[in-house]
Symmetry: none
Subunit: 144 residues, 2 copies
């Protein structure tokens, strides 16, 4: 929200600024139009680069803060991936560095069950190893 306002405002301001410059050109007309075009182009490329990096930075920042919040955001993400609660619990303990056996003990189920959940969440996350699963979960910001 705030970002959009800033970006749009800045763009408009810059445009006005450039127009003013061009207006001024008619007074000081001693340089070629190509020169001014180059200036304008350069100026706006710089502006664009700046805006572009700002944009991406904000994007990741938002992702980070949202994951730092609570369960609700996670559940939405979970539904996007299709992970069930149990699968997510396994994934959490997995990311803590627990073995399947340790996860089984902590969840009061058998190792086989953990392996089933693991296999299912690997399918849903489209990964082959638990380390990949953890990484992908972090990238999807469903895990810290």
């Amino acid at each position: 929200m705030k970002l959009k306002v800033i970006v749009y405002g800045l763009s408009l301001a810059s445009l006005v600024f450039v127009l003013k410059i061009l207006q001024y050109r008619y007074v000081v007309r001693d340089l070629s139009i190509e020169f001014y075009a180059g200036i304008v182009a350069l100026l706006f490329v710089v502006l664009g680069v700046w805006v572009g990096s700002r944009l991406t930075q904000r994007k990741t920042a938002v992702v980070q803060t949202s994951s730092a919040l609570s369960f609700k955001v996670d559940e939405e993400r979970l539904r996007q991936v299709g992970l069930s609660r149990r699968e997510f619990e396994v994934l959490e303990l997995m990311s803590m560095g627990n073995s399947n056996n340790e996860i089984a003990e902590k969840l009061f189920v058998s190792t086989n069950t953990v392996k089933s959940h693991a296999a299912n969440l690997f399918l849903k996350l489209d990964v082959k190893r638990r380390t990949q699963a953890v990484r992908k979960a972090q990238e999807l910001s469903i895990l810290p």
Copy 2:
């Protein structure tokens, strides 16, 4: 490398393109210069945003993959833990979800060597599994 070439090439191409347009303007002069300025500005803002996001994307990627940037900060941390460069490289690839075999291929060494490095860094990090190693490395902020 490739990225820079592409970016610079694209910038130059766009500049030439705009200059051509302006040249053409002298033939079809029926629109105000403000209009053309707006077009140019808009065009280059879009280009800039694109380039900007590209740039930032690469930047983060570089930080993750290459050890060149993170070396300086890492080496201090590394000495605290006592990890050698090779062990750290293995740890990095490990955190990306690579298997020992894949790590071996990417480092041009045998799987046994990777396992040796892995065993050593497990000792130094005081962990038992690779998932724990990755987690601990993140907690020590020697890995993203």
